[in-house]
Subunit: 444 residues, 2 copies
């Protein structure tokens, strides 16, 4: 009997992370890591899991967007869907009425990405493979067919993508062996949240070095005097060889970014992340030229492949930070990986939040095996929050992500966590924690 998608279940899940200022930065002083979580159900009783990461208020808008697009996948035959998620991705992004609300940006685009990722999760489960392996086993032709090149051909054609992927085929097996044996490099943001005091910063920096990390990221941009003191303390704590990246989370305009970073240059920052608006391609190019050799990194808020294309065309970034949930899912991230490979710019995925590490590790590992073919200057962000809520949490060893082995994309929440943190009716938000509800729903 043919198997169909029978339903898309959606959930508003929020974790009260703002209580300890985990995740606090210059633009996000009190985030409650959250997700619009979704489960594709099939008539055969199978499921594909996806999520769109959010930071608290407004998650209900993201859930509404997932529901608006769910109508395009319910009733579809599963076999066809998993054989060509790219066809669904095009339909979700191209819906001629919903498209107006983006286009290809914001909540409707992230909703499309959540559904597309859930289809890939389902595909990988059916294949009995972790997603990175499912992708790495596709032929170059199959991979190219999964990408929408409509707005990309002035930077990357189908033929160029094919040539690039074909060049990597001979080394795939050896890189897969290496990946399984040694994992993929990680860097950590755990020590660097803006809301942590100096003692906690120093202690966590030392722990990170002891844990094997050689790249640590600190939030900056709140106050210059604080930034100087914190970077001094961190540099003392980690020594000269461990790299320190900094992240301004879009707090500055272009001239301000350059001026502020000139004051931090002495601490040898490895990269400056999100120096200004993620939309400002030309601004990033100006900042990069002014601050070299400090690298410029961005991507967690870069809303689609057209923007990444321009960041690369304009020579505006040294580090491409893909995010598993910001763009239209695995397919658009595949396009971005191909663009980055063509321009020779390393990809260091954004992660953290809730579920972002679990999801994005698959894309980075696939990139290593089948696209860029290298680990040089690459690392996946790691933050040690909220992994306990996942059925297949990331495994970190000596500063490296170990390759997932369970089938799927690793984004499935534990049922008990889903029940406990549902907003606003889960016990973590209702009577038992009334104060927290007030904090999460209060504005400002």
């Amino acid at each position: 009997m043919t198997e169909f998608i029978s339903a898309v279940d959606t959930f508003d899940v929020r974790f009260p992370t703002s209580r300890h200022r985990d995740g606090s930065d210059a633009m996000n002083p009190f985030p409650d890591y959250s997700a619009a979580y979704l489960v594709l159900r099939t008539t055969a009783g199978a499921a594909g899991h996806g999520l769109v990461f959010t930071v608290g208020r407004g998650t209900e808008v993201q859930v509404a967007a997932v529901r608006a697009l769910a109508a395009l996948v319910v009733g579809e035959p599963v076999e066809e869907l998993v054989a060509d998620p790219g066809a669904l991705a095009r339909r979700l992004v191209g819906d001629s009425q919903i498209r107006w609300l983006g286009p290809e940006k914001g909540v409707v685009h992230m909703a499309a990405g959540g559904i597309v990722n859930a289809v890939w999760d389902l595909a990988a489960r059916r294949a009995g493979k972790p997603l990175w392996k499912l992708l790495a086993d596709l032929t170059p032709e199959q991979l190219v067919a999964q990408v929408d090149f409509r707005y990309l051909r002035d930077a990357l054609t189908e033929d160029e993508a094919l040539t690039l992927l074909n060049a990597g085929v001979p080394g795939r097996a050896e890189r897969e062996r290496l990946l399984r044996a040694e994992g993929y490099p990680a860097y950590t943001t755990t020590p660097g949240w803006l809301g942590y005091d100096d003692e906690k910063l120093v202690r966590l920096c030392r722990e990170a070095v002891d844990d094997g990390y050689d790249l640590i990221k600190l939030k900056v941009g709140g106050n210059l005097t604080d930034d100087v003191r914190r970077l001094e303390l961190a540099r003392q704590a980690v020594g000269p060889r461990v790299r320190l990246a900094v992240d301004a989370n879009q707090i500055w305009g272009v001239p301000e970014a350059i001026g502020w970073m000139e004051q931090l240059r002495g601490f040898d920052p490895y990269w400056i992340e999100e120096p200004t608006s993620p939309d400002d391609v030309l601004g990033h190019a100006v900042v990069r030229r002014a601050l070299a050799p400090i690298r410029v990194a961005t991507g967690e808020h870069v809303h689609n492949a057209v923007m990444f294309k321009q960041l690369l065309q304009a020579g505006a970034v040294d580090v491409v930070q893909i995010d598993a949930c910001r763009v239209g899912g695995v397919n658009e991230n595949l396009a971005i990986l191909l663009l980055a490979a063509k321009y020779g710019v390393p990809v260091c995925p954004h992660a953290g939040g809730v579920g972002l590490c679990e999801l994005v590790q698959h894309l980075a590992m696939f990139d290593f095996v089948a696209v860029s073919g290298t680990l040089d200057d690459r690392a996946i962000e790691y933050v040690d929050h909220l992994h306990e809520h996942f059925v297949d949490p990331v495994r970190i060893q000596r500063g490296r992500y170990l390759a997932p082995t369970a089938p799927g994309m690793s984004g499935e929440l534990i049922a008990e966590s889903l029940a406990a943190y549902r907003f606003p009716d889960g016990p973590q938000w209702s009577a038992a924690a009334g104060g927290a509800v007030a904090a999460a729903t209060a504005v400002g």
Copy 2:
């Protein structure tokens, strides 16, 4: 007694325009012109009206976004709000949790714009002035204080904006007199929808010329043979002196845009609108260089001032098409008008849909009186649909918008229309028109 905002009422309103393919283009074959409509209520019984234009499915997501931001305005003192809508605009755009869903793009940004516009509507009503006049009576200092320059200073500083506005002060009174006497130029898109047959195209083109229009816009990009035939017919119908602009609604990639338009060059197109993705600043610059002297126009989907800034910095556009509902409201459009004036690029607002003509005329007229100070190469789009649903509809005479005189921003819907077209429970969508509901909710 101090007056406060007591509530934000929200409505999902949809008009079944797809039944006659009004509004049909290469990317939007069957739009149902719709709006997330909102009314700010005050404790004194006053009201400010705003709307976010949409095209059917997904309007409920836009409504959810307005509701998510409504909490930031309910309970605010009206006197302070109307004295400084810019402060509210910053808070709405900057909410540290909701911001994640954009930032500054998509449904959350349009929701902010809808609320900000409603506050300006309220401010203008209280002042007893049409919005264009309220704005044109503000001093240069007051106007500059209404703009968020955070991400714009590399292109336009507060001082530059002040200088620019001050230069226009001596001519304000004379331009206001001219505006009241002669109105503001319009161009028409009424004849050009892709779903209209040749006979209707020719008839409407002739009527447009008879009505006094000297600029008519046609949709293109569906099929090249059709485009050639339609442009030939239109050119014959209007003669050599009436300008014909064409609009591809983002259907092409960069090389395709150039190739296709080369085939239409012989019909002397005045501008090519939305040749490719609205996000592709660098792509528009390439298209513009290749197609000159054909002008390049875009803006109805350009999601914020940072993107307009770059379009101007990169020399990517000849025509800036602001939209009253796409960005964060009057304040962000003020920033865009200032940027366009600094770069000397004419503004020809996008309109049509439902309510867009009513709203955006105020911005264009204010621009003439107090910012650019000129009507050269400028015209507001006009489409003759759905104006009958507004309390203060636009008035067009001999191809010109007459200056509104009623207090406010002209976006208030007639109560009967609001009741009739509410989705899905209004009589136009419920039992009496069951087939139309199916059409609007079906996907694809």
